[in-house]
């Protein structure tokens, strides 16, 4: 009896010791775990954001640190939002954004739909299609400038061969009318595989039993596509649009390598323009206001998308 009672005593006190591990409460342990992440988030995201907002209200120039910084209030915002050049830059970005997303979603989904059908060499085709996505944007930009060469470029040769137009009669990156399309084509070529992979994941997540049930109900392939495939792959499609939308809104490297914003400023997207203001003209305060405007726009769009995505998922 005595032995049993001595055995039970430590067992009874165990739950008490579970709450406090070596003097630290559960709450303290939780803070120790998430503390570094919160600190990192504050240092890398929140502090620069607050600092940028502060700079956007001044005339600070990063190349003239000895000069007194003047508080200008909302003047930088006023200047940006009344500047026709920046307005044109926004339009160039809208053109790039809309067309790349439309083309990438259409082609990406079609490719995913085809790859999802079981056929011989399926894996090989998937690997080949995914290759452009693995290249560096700087490399892609560089070799597409060669492909777009009017005299020796393969792209011009193929277009000339198919349409009968003289290949040297047009320049994709030198023509004001064609340059916006040149960057759309390259971005679509590079990032369609990414959209395809997301769509493929969506298509492969649809259970076969749903199609079998539809077959039993004699639903046509067309009806199956619109009532099963599209609604069930929609969250994935929306995710792809969200990723590509945000990414293309701040597109920089590919376009700089390809056209450098030219001819003139026809392909100067907002991020290129922002970089010029910040690091070529050194108008840091002005560029900060510009960055805040872009941030609010992307943040707003992302909020809408996350909400829409959650709604679709709940269905």
């Amino acid at each position: 009896m005595t032995d049993q009672s001595t055995d039970r005593a430590p067992t009874a006190s165990r739950p008490l010791r579970g709450h406090v591990v070596r003097g630290l409460s559960d709450r303290a342990v939780a803070w120790i775990f998430i503390g570094p992440t919160i600190l990192l988030l504050l240092a890398i995201n929140i502090f620069p954001l607050i600092w940028t907002i502060r700079l956007s209200l001044t005339n600070y120039r990063a190349n003239r640190t000895a000069e007194a910084v003047e508080w200008v209030g909302l003047r930088n915002y006023q200047r940006i939002l009344t500047d026709p050049d920046i307005w044109h830059t926004m339009q160039a970005t809208a053109h790039f954004l809309i067309w790349t997303i439309v083309l990438q979603v259409l082609i990406g989904f079609t490719l995913a739909y085809l790859i999802n059908k079981k056929f011989r060499g399926n894996d090989l085709w998937t690997t080949l299609i995914v290759l452009p996505m693995m290249l560096s944007p700087a490399v892609v930009g560089n070799f597409w400038t060669f492909l777009y060469q009017p005299q020796i470029g393969l792209f011009n040769y193929v277009v000339g061969y198919l349409s009968g137009v003289d290949p040297s009669s047009f320049s994709m990156i030198g023509d004001v009318a064609l340059a916006p399309w040149a960057i759309v084509i390259v971005d679509t070529w590079m990032w369609t595989p990414f959209v395809m992979l997301i769509c493929l994941a969506g298509l492969r997540s649809i259970p076969e039993s749903i199609y079998e049930a539809a077959e039993c109900d004699r639903a046509s392939k067309w009806r199956q596509f619109w009532t099963i495939t599209i609604p069930m792959a929609l969250p994935f499609l929306m995710l792809a649009v969200l990723f590509r939308g945000i990414e293309n809104f701040k597109m920089f490297d590919l376009v700089v390598q390809l056209t450098g914003g030219g001819p003139g400023s026809i392909t100067e997207l907002t991020s290129i323009n922002l970089k010029r203001e910040a690091f070529e003209k050194w108008r840091t305060g002005y560029a900060s206001a510009y960055a805040v405007i872009l941030f609010v726009t992307v943040f707003g769009l992302a909020s809408i998308y996350v909400k829409a995505l959650n709604k679709v998922k709940q269905r």
Partner: protein, 62 residues
């Protein structure tokens, strides 16, 4: 329409979120449209109001 106004008055999340979403979308369209410089000038205020509203109303009860 009357139900929507009532829900807005009772601070329900759904209609307020919808209003914020419409403002954000309108602001983005105004920012990137090629028609009017006046719309472009006022786009940021519309987007900002929509975004701030969205952050606030997402804490409202369902």
């Amino acid at each position: 329409m009357r139900a929507l106004v009532q829900d807005l008055a009772r601070l329900r999340r759904g209609p307020w979120e919808m209003l914020a979403t419409v403002l954000i979308a309108l602001g983005v369209v105004m920012l990137m449209q090629p028609v009017s410089l006046w719309l472009y000038t006022h786009s940021f205020v519309v987007t900002l109001v929509g975004t701030v509203m969205f952050i606030i109303v997402s804490h409202f009860p369902e």
